[in-house]
């Protein structure tokens, strides 16, 4: 979809971007990440020719971007920056409608498009259409900024640290929304950030840059599991690298079979379970997990005393990240969590020692 071939940018004899070769597939969410001055923003801006190339070529769907008029190219590519990029003298509707109007869409079509985009970002059209940017909160303004970039239904969306100026909570919800919008629209997105957590959360592919060079390209998992060099290792964040790795993996990957027995079973049967297992999940007569038995109960009366209750709040699901599962284990002081399906039925368990294993 987007191919960068030996792309170079030189300022005052210094290569700010140094022969970067990268290809982004259709529907990819590609995050360019690196410390400040690494050339990530420059690389992004060369894609829509805001910055001219010093060397190399960029092709979008096989077409060299140099062969198109810059304005024409940019109208085909969505571009979103921090919220201050909204036009302060125009309403939300006028801001979103910029490119469709440049492309001479009919007023009716423009209006419908604005409405559906506002709805996509959960902004009530009747309430927001006629507001000016200074009447919006930071999060709302940024939603409008992204909606504006999507207005003319571009094939490609370029985003330059769009959430950099937002507070952590708003940023979190915007990231969630961005992920959803990406899934719903299937756009090809190139996204620049310096925040590794943001990259891990959004990216299908991460491209790490340092001093103008592309250091490593890969899925979040590949980057975490096998950092190409010390720079990547440092950049990804040694301090909680382990947790970041766990954040990209689901409980499903470490699922183990679990021994379980119903509370209504005869006590001898419960006791006999401990012949094969050192811990057994106790189920309610309805089949819900009640808790964990780590030693054989002495008798029927003893059952509740030796039961370690693990209610619904501490059940894991196959889709849950290992990071969250680990957090539950630490919080509940247990080495195992029951893994349940959508109906609350036990499908297996996840244990601390299994989490520690490399995949």
């Amino acid at each position: 979809m987007i191919e960068l071939d030996q792309v170079t940018k030189t300022y005052d004899g210094k290569n700010v971007v140094d022969s970067v070769t990268l290809s982004v597939d259709k529907g990819d969410f590609c995050v360019l990440i690196g410390p400040s001055g690494s050339g990530k923003s420059t690389t992004l801006k060369m894609i829509n020719r805001l910055i001219p190339l010093s060397g190399g070529t960029i092709r979008i769907e096989g077409q060299d971007i140099a062969s198109v008029r810059a304005e024409e190219l940019r109208r085909r590519i969505g571009y979103a920056i921090q919220s201050i990029g909204l036009f302060p003298h125009w309403t939300v509707e006028q801001n979103i409608a910029v490119v469709p109007r440049l492309l001479k869409w009919s007023p009716k079509r423009v209006r419908e498009r604005v409405e559906s985009l506002l709805a996509l970002f959960h902004l009530e059209p009747g309430q927001f259409r006629d507001k000016y940017p200074h009447q919006l909160s930071g999060g709302q303004a940024q939603r409008v900024g992204v909606a504006r970039a999507l207005a003319a239904d571009p094939e490609v969306l370029l985003m330059d640290e769009p959430f950099g100026a937002l507070d952590p909570i708003t940023r979190d919800s915007l990231q969630e929304e961005m992920r959803r919008v990406h899934e719903e629209t299937g756009k090809t997105i190139v996204f620049v950030t310096h925040d590794m957590d943001e990259a891990l959360k959004l990216a299908s592919r991460i491209a790490i840059m340092d001093e103008g060079r592309l250091v490593q390209v890969g899925s979040p998992r590949e980057i975490l599991n096998s950092p190409a060099n010390d720079f990547v290792l440092d950049f990804v964040g040694q301090s909680d690298l382990g947790l970041k790795m766990l954040a990209c993996e689901s409980v499903e990957t470490r699922l183990e079979p679990a021994a379980s027995i119903s509370r209504s079973a005869p006590i001898e049967n419960i006791r006999s379970q401990f012949g094969q297992a050192d811990h057994v999940w106790l189920l309610s007569p309805e089949g819900q997990v009640e808790g964990l038995l780590t030693e054989a109960p002495g008798g029927q009366d003893d059952l509740d005393r030796s039961l370690r209750p693990l209610g619904q709040e501490s059940h894991a699901t196959p889709e849950m990240s290992l990071k969250e599962a680990l957090s539950h284990m630490v919080w509940r002081k247990t080495g195992w969590l029951p893994v349940v399906d959508g109906d609350g039925r036990l499908t297996g368990e996840v244990g601390l020692s299994k989490v520690m294993e490399r995949p």
């Binding site: 304005e71 940019r74 036009f87 003298h89 910029v98 440049l102 200074h134 370029l158």
Partner: protein, 252 residues
Amino acid sequence: MIGSRSLSASLPRTGALPWLAALFVALTLFMGQSAPLFEWLLPGLDNPVYDRHSFPDLVLDHVVLVAASSLISVFIGVSAGIFATRSVGQEFKPVISAVSAIGQTFPPAAVLAVVAPLAGFGFKPALVALALYGLLPIVQNTMAGLETVPSATLEAARGMGLSKREILTRVELPLAMRVITAGIRVSVIVNIGTATIASTVGARSLGTPIISGLVSQNVAYVLQGAILVALLAIVTDLFFERLERFFSVDRN
């Protein structure tokens, strides 16, 4: 926020414009009939009311002179300001700033003295002098207004595929309009005052009775011209204030 809004609403600033404008028109029309008033105020004058030209004529001449010179100032000033902030004009920016500043540092009488021998007497030298004199605030405010447009806004405009011309006319000028209008306001108000001196080179204006009164030591003539000039300046200023508010981005 609520406090300041209710305060400004209680001030009679916007409400004053129509009343002062009506007063100005009334005084213009009836200044010729004000002889009894000035006789009572300044007893012993041979001729208590200036009567060589009618006051409506003088006001019209004054307004035409100021309007014509201001239009020239706006056209040249805004063009120069735009040029100086384009990438091609960056080098000329200091020169443009300096030239427009020099235009203003000369006392208006000196500008007239320089222009009159070149352009002759009458309307023309006054027009040139006033146009030059009013240039500086317009040039400077145009440059300042265009430079305050946030770079992120410009980058967004470029990134979305607006051409340079579209960026200027749809984004930069509308956003700079309030500051540019403020410059035009200063320029016009100053020129309303300065145009009185233009009568020394033979251009007819509200300065004509003032100069004539000074020469013949007739205070009534001076007052009659000065009152009308002052009112004209105040009315114009209030008008521009409204205009500026109209152009400001948040119109509250």
